[in-house]
Subunit: 341 residues, 2 copies
DNA sequence: GGTGTCTTTCAAAGCGCTTTGGGTGAGGGG
DNA sequence: CCCCTCACCCAAAGCGCTTTGAAAGACACC
C-alpha cells in the first residue's frame, strides 16, 4: 500500500492524504479522520526512503562505534549507552544506524555519512586524547554530540560526560578520610580521555591532602577481570602494598577482589576497594546493600540525554552547543573500611 | 556534490556517469577511469535515499533487540553479536539499523520495517519458547535469520545456533567421567529457548549415565554475577551439596567461584565448575591457560555467519532456507578436577 | 448579481538516483 | 558506396513522497 493507492482508494488526491496524515491545517477534520482511519486499517506507513528524499531529513541518527584494531574489543558500555539513546529515538520517531568501525577508518565513515545523506546527526563514542574526529565533524556541518570529552579540541562541540575528575577525587578523599595512605589506582587505558581525567582527579586529591601518588601503585590497562586481577596481584605482592584500591570499572573490581582473596585477605578489611560503576544492566552492584563502594553514573541515562541533546541540535541548529556534565554519586558499600592500624 | 553536478562537471550525461560508477559494461574504460577519478577527488558518494528509492533496495539490515520490560536489561551478548554482523555488513556495503524494542511492541516494529521499506532483511534476537514473531515475519515476506531457535515454530525459518544440547551434554559427561555424582546446573532464564536446550542436554547426559537430575541442584535465573553467587551459595550451603556445577555464562561463573571461595573451598578441587563461554571480548577466560573449563562458542562469529546467511538470502530469495548449527568446543581449564573421594 | 474572503482540494514539480529505450558515429563486409 | 553491427553515450521516465501555487466551491456582504 502506497500513497497513490491509498488516495485513489479514498477518492482524494495524494496531496490531501499526505496533508491529512502529517497534521496540516488545510484539511477538514472530517476528511482527516476518514484518511487516518483508512491508513490505520491498511497499515499504511510512508516509505521512509521516498519521504526522506522529499523532505531532506533522514530521520536517522548514526552511531559510530570504534573497534580497536589492536584488541578487537568492544567496550561493553556501548550496549547500555545505545539502549538509553534508543529510547529517546524511538520516542521521537528516529531510527538509529550503527557503524562498527576500526580506529583507522573512522574519518572515512563520517565523510560518507555526510555525503550519502543517510543520517541527520552523529553520536561520537570513545574520544581519545587529541582526537581529530571532532574538528573533522565540525567541518562537515553535521550535528553531533560526543560521549565524553576531548581535552584539546580546537573547536567547541556538544558533549555529555561524567565528572570523572571529581568522582575520582571524591573517592580518593573518602579513602583518605578513612585513614588510608597507600592508595592505588587501577585505571583504564590512558589514551582514553576519561581515564586521564580520572587519574588527574585521583592525583589532585592525594596531593591536596599531602600524599604523593606513587608510580608503582598506578596501573593502566584494559578494563577486564583478568587485567584487574593481574594489576592488583602485582601491587599486593610487591613492596609497600596498597591498603586501598581505586578501580575504573566493576569488571576490573571483580578481578581485584579475586586477587585480594587469593592472598587470604578480606576486601573491606585489610584492603578497601572503590570502583567506578557504569550501572550496566547485566552487572548489578549488589541488590539491596551495595557490595562495592562505588562512584555511580548510569551510562544508559547518559545515552538518553546525549540523544535528546542531539535531536534538539537538529531541530534548532542555530542554538548554542549544549554540554552536560553528569555528577557521579558516591554510594558506600561493604568494600571499604578504615585503614588497618 | 550530486550526480548532476558531477556529470556536468565531466561533460557527460548522468546516465553515463552512473553506469561508469556502477560497473556497467557499456562505458569505455577510459571514461570510466575519468569518472571514478573525479568522483574520488570530489568525495562523491551517491545519496543513499535516492539510490534506494530508485533501486528498491535499502541496503540496510534491521536488528530488533528485545528489551525486557520486566528487568530493563540488555543481554550483553548482543554487543558482540552485532560486532560480528557489522563486519559482514561493512564488507558488503550494507548498513545496520538497530531497534531496541520492549517485548510487547515487537510485532509492530517488524510490520513497520516491512511497510516503510527501510530494511531488506532482519535478524531476530533472543527467541523464546513459542515465539510468535517467526510466523509473523514469514508472513511479511521479509527475509530474516534467527539467532537461536524456536522449538515449536509452525513454519520453517533460517537460523544460526549453538548446539546447546550437545555442549551441555558433553560438559556433564566430562564431569561424570571425572567421578562426579552430584552435578548442579545454574541455568539462564528458562523462557529463553537456548536455556531450555541446555537443560535438556544436561538431563539427558545424566540419565544416560544412570544419574537422576535433582531439582534442588537446578537453578534458573538471569545470568549475572549476583544471581550466580546466590544460586551457588544456596546449593553449597544446603543438604547434599554438589561437587560440580555447570553454569550458563562466564559472568555467573564469577559469582559461583565467589560462593565457593566464601566457604573456604577451592574451585577445581572440592568443587568443579564448567561454564558456557560466549567468548565476549571484554570478558576473556584466562589469557594463556584458560581458568575455567568451558564450552566455548564465539558469539561474534555467530553474528558474522548470521549476517552472511541473511545477505545470501536477500541476493537469492529462492534458495532454500539456510540453517547453521555451531558446535561448542570443550576446553579444559583449572576449574575442574576429579570428584573428591 | 458581482465581488471578495475563506476553506478545501488538486495538479504538478521536484528530491537524486537507476534504468529503459533509443540515437549517433565508427568500422567492416558486400 | 551502402548497409549493418558494435561501442559508446544520452534523454527521459519513474521510484513514492512532500510541497508549491492555483483552482474551485461556499459563503457573506453590499
Amino acid at each position: 500500500m502506497n500513497l497513490r493507492e491509498l488516495s485513489t482508494l479514498l477518492g482524494l488526491s495524494q496531496t490531501t492524504v499526505s496533508r491529512a496524515l502529517n497534521g496540516y491545517p488545510e484539511v477538514k477534520e472530517a476528511t482527516r479522520l476518514r484518511v487516518t482511519a483508512a491508513a490505520d486499517k491498511h497499515g499504511y506507513h510512508p516509505n521512509t526512503r521516498a519521504r526522506s528524499l522529499a523532505t531532506g531529513r533522514a530521520m536517522t541518527i548514526g552511531h559510530v562505534i570504534p573497534v580497536s584494531t589492536k584488541h578487537e574489543m568492544l567496550n561493553p558500555v556501548f550496549a547500555d549507552f545505545i539502549a538509553g539513546a534508543g529510547e529517546a529515538y524511538a520516542e521521537a520517531g528516529y531510527d538509529m544506524i550503527l557503524s562498527l568501525t576500526p580506529d583507522d577508518q573512522q574519518a572515512g565513515v563520517y565523510r560518507k555519512f555526510a555525503q550519502k545523506k543517510s543520517v541527520d546527526g552523529i553520536i561520537l563514542h570513545g574520544p581519545r586524547m587529541g582526537d581529530k574526529r571532532i574538528d573533522m565533524l565540525a567541518d562537515l556541518g553535521l550535528p553531533f554530540v560526543v560521549h565524553g570529552r576531548v581535552s584539546d579540541a580546537a573547536k567547541p562541540y556538544a558533549w555529555v560526560d561524567v565528572n570523572n575528575r571529581r568522582a575520582f577525587a571524591r573517592a580518593a578523599d573518602f579513602l583518605i578520610d578513612l585513614g588510608h595512605q597507600r592508595i592505588a589506582l587501577i585505571n583504564g587505558l590512558e589514551d582514553m580521555d576519561f581515564a586521564l581525567r580520572r587519574r588527574e582527579g585521583f592525583e589532585t586529591a592525594l596531593t591536596a591532602r599531602g600524599l604523593t601518588p606513587l608510580p608503582h601503585l598506578m596501573a593502566s590497562s584494559e578494563m577486564t577481570e583478568i587485567k584487574g586481577h593481574a594489576a592488583a596481584a602485582a601491587m599486593l605482592g610487591g613492596p609497600n602494598p596498597p591498603t586501598a584500591i581505586l578501580t575504573s570499572s566493576l569488571i576490573s573490581a571483580l578481578g581485584v577482589r579475586r586477587a585480594i582473596e587469593e592472598r587470604g585477605l578480606t576486601m573491606g578489611r585489610e584492603v578497601s576497594v572503590i570502583t567506578h560503576d557504569d550501572v550496566l544492566g547485566y552487572l548489578p552492584n549488589g541488590a539491596d546493600v551495595p557490595i562495592y563502594t562505588a562512584t555511580k553514573s548510569s551510562v544508559r541515562a547518559a545515552g538518553q540525554t546525549a540523544a535528546k541533546m542531539l535531536l534538539d541540535q537538529i531541530n534548532a541548529p542555530q542554538s548554542p552547543l549544549p554540554t552536560k556534565l553528569l555528577e557521579a554519586e558516591l554510594t558506600v558499600g561493604q568494600s571499604t573500611g578504615p585503614a588497618p592500624k
